[in-house]
Symmetry: C2
Subunit: 700 residues, 2 copies
């Protein structure tokens, strides 16, 4: 087929030759995408909505062109829009939308002819840009050619997802196309079996200078130990899946996850989406036709159905059956020798449109001891997509991956018959919601390993994010990191004293605890807010946190911070993060040589109660460090409980007066108070800039 | 009488001699005050409440001692309290209180004997302190001897106010005291008449280095032109006032002010407070006795009664009769030759307890053409107390004057028979609520002049005060004044352009308008907030503003800022401050060569409407300066109206993008945007520290 393409090496070669290769790849993609819509019987069909939660096809027809315009404008490579009106209509909408987004009243879809003309105009713009663009090799993230590659690969994704939508149209709405003819091979389904895989280590993630185009989620590193497991030789065929159905698979509740049940009941699902007809006479819907259910072809299901099948299979076999996780899948590729990019190593598989526009029998393409490790249909993984260590958002497309890092988008691997370009590279990481339909099926594994399904997501709570930045982020106005400065002041006061146990009370997201950890045998880090404590725990466990930082209005940037970046290279296993009320701590929190209470007292309901209580928890000769801006506010502390900042009997009482009144019985003030500045960044422009008065009290 | 004292020169003389003089003055005051309470028949009377809105006498007995303790502690001159419990009970309470303060449940009054012992202990402390204190001459505000003087003069005030309370006790509750015997002189009241006073200029206020102790409100300057007027020869006597009563004075509504009517009706007043008995047989209550109403003595009334008398007198005479204002009163002293401190120039008058413990006939003490210009009874003025230019609060007693700068406390002048010390100095400025009772009466004047009765009070609204400080106050963190920086940027952009008319839209409290005023023929300064505009107007009119600045919790300091301090020495008559909605300005606000919109656009409901409108108000070649931190918040601007800070069609739109979209048709962006920092001080420790992006647009 004339549109079969190879991925392009972006790192080596002559720029002019590369320009020509890319231009060819671009035009092949563009044309192929338009030809996909030849399968619609008339222009009317463009306005049909094959899935109720997605736009009609006209949107996807225009969308890939508009995407080019948006990214090229954003990159500063072009200066004006081809058609602002259409480009407003055709922006965004890849993932599933909520009902609100789909109110038809919001859309006044244009004529197909207008969209064709629009596509042609965009196509001229992009071709001219490719022709005249100054660029050099290698083509990296920053290269002006990168957004061209981004637009191409984006269109290739839509080639596949639009082909799924076309498969969901009524049969009368579609017509055969010479470019998208199904494969005719059928036959008896082979009996499946589990093949043992030895344990091993896999390294996921690719280098920044990798030679192929990649989406942001592919970069970074994740090294994982994979215990031995066994995996099914074949993808699950329609025949194998039919056993599940005939055993009451869709009726029985116990095999379904809660999420799966919700989906099943809502959709009243009784069989896979593309199956037609009744039991005993099932037919399979292809892109433009139907055929009797080909028993040897892989079944196409969503993750939730595949999961129910695995649970049924577990029950039947007594083995722990599930889908592979991302590392296990990689391990399968490795033992089959498929762990290099296939363009360096031709792989026979039903993909890249090389075998026609449909599945083929599951025993057609052998890969080592297995079949269909890649191609035919995508293979659901148990793993929700998550960012690798070192993940960075590409600034031109900052909502490609991050919104899917929500533990609700599971990875699909291996590609289908229509997967091309980046989709069929070793490092690709596509993910969809678990109930989403693609040309996707599954293979199963037997393993005792519990799969990790809950990954850190980008902290988006505005207050928590502000504190992440405050503790672990950038300096503002040249003001040194505050929790670190407080910890340093505390450590200076501890000179020559016991350093067994320290308490950081009101630790927020925990920076000071890490700073104290190296000097103390044990550090307790307590806060009233579990949301804050979680950040500290995450940092302790993973050495990194991720959060959205507000820049202007609703615009955010995605931040990753690691302990290592901050010069914190310890193990930090001696820190215990825990949720506690500072005025009602459990008795076990005692015998401290140091207690740090930074920016705490003016946020307590009853600061005096805290001060009276804390004395009993500090060893004689121990240190209490209080730092506070004395910002008393009735929303936190009733006026009658303020330590200072009021007139009593007509005379001013400062908070320092109040601290003396509460502490002098048990403590000696070590020195003159010092004021430590801190800055909390609210937006790129707006900050709180505050002075926190630090006093060091020695326990008598 | 042995307790007659003279005011002490605090600026010259030998320190040891001065120590001795002050100690003597202190002890005379202390003893005299205690002797006042000899007039109570028994200790039970200490617990009576002569005025329902004031504490029982026991409070006042303890209070003057506690005041010493509080001020000496605050000044760091002593280190511990004599009796924390009693000192909590005896703090504050000079001015009238609200009902809440007087809930008896809050007070568990101590035994009189305990209070006597307490007073003795305090007395020893103060005497010891005077003996051992290091001080040098002169004794200024900062001297450790100043709080001693403060405590003495404070006790002398209470000597007088307590004597009023004793006069309000039941006759059975009091007994004669050899120290407080009434004067026996009576007689027929002289006929009163008005005496002409030529116009003149008076200078009120005393210098910082004045030789006598003074309260904070006496310092500073106020120079006033006094047009000619005439003044009554005598204080209004009981006889003259009786005419008013007999003419239906208390029954007729039209002579009373609204405030006076409220008071009259609430108290069902039919005659002065100290008059007893029925018409035709009135008696006068003195401190410890009653007597037939002495017709020749000055009537004692509150301001509201005096005012009704004046209005009645106006009606009867056809002349504009009222009480003098503060300047007219000083003018009377000057023409009588009493405008020097009386300790330099002995003055015969019924004051300083020199004539006994009561009034004397109004024709007893002649002062020039008049009688009783000082002494006998206080003389109500029309002028509410207000701060002189250059007023500063004394840090040891910051609530002496400021709470009375509310236009509701009118000045009383001249002193009464029991006024002593600071009360009978030329510069003294005591003020009470207009319905308050003292040994006070009045003299009247005839004048066409309208008396100013509404003075700037300290701006206490937190937001307005923050903006006062932001525009006119101190630099924080070394960040230059923001409105000034914006004005300078605007003036730089105006180089070589017409500078006829400028508009500061969203001018807040107006600093930039003053900065622009010198370069432009006319400046309009508009803001949506009338509260902000008032500050700008006040600054324009008076060259000074006053506001409370929050320091910590509820603690504030009192700030005064002048244009002169800021190097702004123009006349500024070319500024027009006006309340206007930036998105709905009147047509007259047009033809500008410069429009400054600083920190405005992200606080408008509809910033785009403002931008579209403003273009039509700027002359071709004129400048539009927009400065904004782009802090978009839904509370101010619905998200659909944000200029930027959101994603449109999936791509980020910054506010700068939005400004271009709105302005490019009519304007050219002059330069790269610059970010101007600003700091808004919320407390001594907490600040907003923000960057405002400034863009300069030239009108096409």
């Amino acid at each position: 087929m004339e549109f079969i393409t190879q991925n392009i090496d972006l790192t080596t070669g002559d720029p002019e030759a590369k320009r020509s290769t890319i231009k060819q790849y671009y035009n092949a993609t563009w044309t192929l995408y338009e030809r996909l819509f030849d399968t619609l019987v008339s222009d009317d069909i463009f306005y049909k909505r094959p899935q109720p939660l997605r736009h009609p096809l006209i949107f996807y027809f225009g969308h890939t062109a508009t995407f080019f315009m948006n990214k090229l404008l954003l990159a500063g490579l072009i200066e004006k829009r081809v058609d602002p009106h259409l480009e407003s209509i055709f922006a965004i909408g890849v993932d599933e939308m909520s009902w609100d987004d789909l109110d038809d009243a919001h859309y006044d879809w244009p004529e197909v002819e207008n969209v064709r003309n629009y596509r042609n105009a965009v196509n001229r713009t992009v071709n001219e840009l490719i022709d005249r663009m100054n660029f050099s090799m290698p083509i990296s993230w920053e290269s002006p050619m990168w957004p061209i590659m981004m637009g191409i690969e984006h269109e290739r994704i839509h080639l596949e997802t639009s082909s799924v939508l076309i498969r969901q149209l009524a049969l009368d709405d579609v017509q055969p196309s010479v470019l998208f003819q199904p494969n005719q091979a059928t036959g008896k389904a082979p009996g499946n079996c589990l093949i043992h895989v030895a344990d091993g280590t896999v390294k996921l993630g690719k280098e920044r200078d990798h030679r192929l185009y990649g989406w942001d989620n592919e970069y970074g590193t994740s090294i994982q130990q994979v215990p031995e497991f066994s995996a099914s030789k074949y993808l699950v065929s329609n025949a194998e899946y039919l056993e599940f159905i005939e055993d009451g698979g869709y009726r029985e509740t116990r095999w379904w996850t809660k999420e799966g049940l919700g989906w099943r009941d809502y959709h009243q699902a009784e069989k896979p989406e593309f199956w037609r007809g009744e039991p005993g006479a099932y037919r399979l819907r292809l892109m433009t036709s139907e055929m009797p259910l080909p028993m040897s072809w892989p079944v196409e299901v969503c993750y939730l159905e595949a999961k129910a099948f695995c649970n049924w299979k577990s029950e039947k076999t007594g083995q722990p059956i599930r889908m592979p996780d991302e590392a296990e899948y990689r391990r399968l590729l490795e033992i089959a020798g498929l762990d290099r990019e296939h363009h360096e190593q031709p792989i026979n598989a039903n993909w890249n449109l090389e075998q026609g526009a449909s599945s083929v029998p599951v025993d057609t393409f052998r890969h080592g001891d297995f079949f269909d490790l890649v191609g035919n249909v995508w293979q659901w993984n148990e793993t929700p997509i998550y960012p690798f260590d070192g993940f960075e958002v590409h600034p031109l497309y900052d909502d490609f991956s991050v919104p899917t890092f929500d533990n609700r988008h599971n990875l699909i691997k291996g590609g289908s018959w229509i997967s091309t370009g980046n989709e069929i590279t070793l490092h690709s990481r596509y993910a969809f919601r678990r109930h989403f339909y693609q040309h996707a099926g599954f293979r199963y594994v037997a393993s005792d390993k519990t799969v990790k399904t809950n990954f850190d997501v980008y902290e988006s709570d505005e207050q928590v994010s502000q504190y992440c930045e405050f503790h672990y982020g950038d300096e503002c106005f040249g003001i040194a990191n505050f929790p670190k400065a407080v910890a340093q002041l505390a450590l200076a006061a501890m000179e020559g004293r016991n350093k067994n146990r320290a308490l950081d009370i009101g630790c927020s997201v925990g920076r000071a605890a890490f700073e104290l950890s190296e000097a103390f045998a044990h550090v307790d880090a307590l806060d009233f807010s579990a949301r804050f404590i979680q950040v500290g725990s995450r940092m302790q466990e993973a050495g990194r946190i991720r959060y959205e930082r507000t820049e202007e209005g609703d615009l955010v940037t995605f931040q990753e911070r690691t302990l290592a970046q901050l010069g914190l290279n310890g193990t930090y296993t001696n820190i215990r993060f825990m949720q506690q009320d500072a005025t009602n701590m459990k008795p076990e929190f005692t015998n401290y040589d140091l207690v740090v209470a930074a920016n705490l007292i003016d946020r307590l309901h009853s600061p005096a109660r805290f001060l009276r209580d804390i004395a009993g928890r500090i060893n004689s000769g121990g240190v209490l460090l209080i730092a506070s801006p004395y910002t008393w506010l009735e929303q936190f502390t009733k006026k009658e409980n303020w330590l200072g900042g009021f007139k009593r009997d007509g005379e001013p009482v400062t908070t320092l007066d109040g601290l003396h009144a509460e502490l002098d019985a048990c403590f000696t003030l070590a020195d003159e108070p010092v004021r430590i500045p801190f800055v909390i960044r609210e937006t790129a422009n707006k900050h709180q800039h505050t002075l926190s008065e630090a006093t060091v009290w020695i326990r008598k």
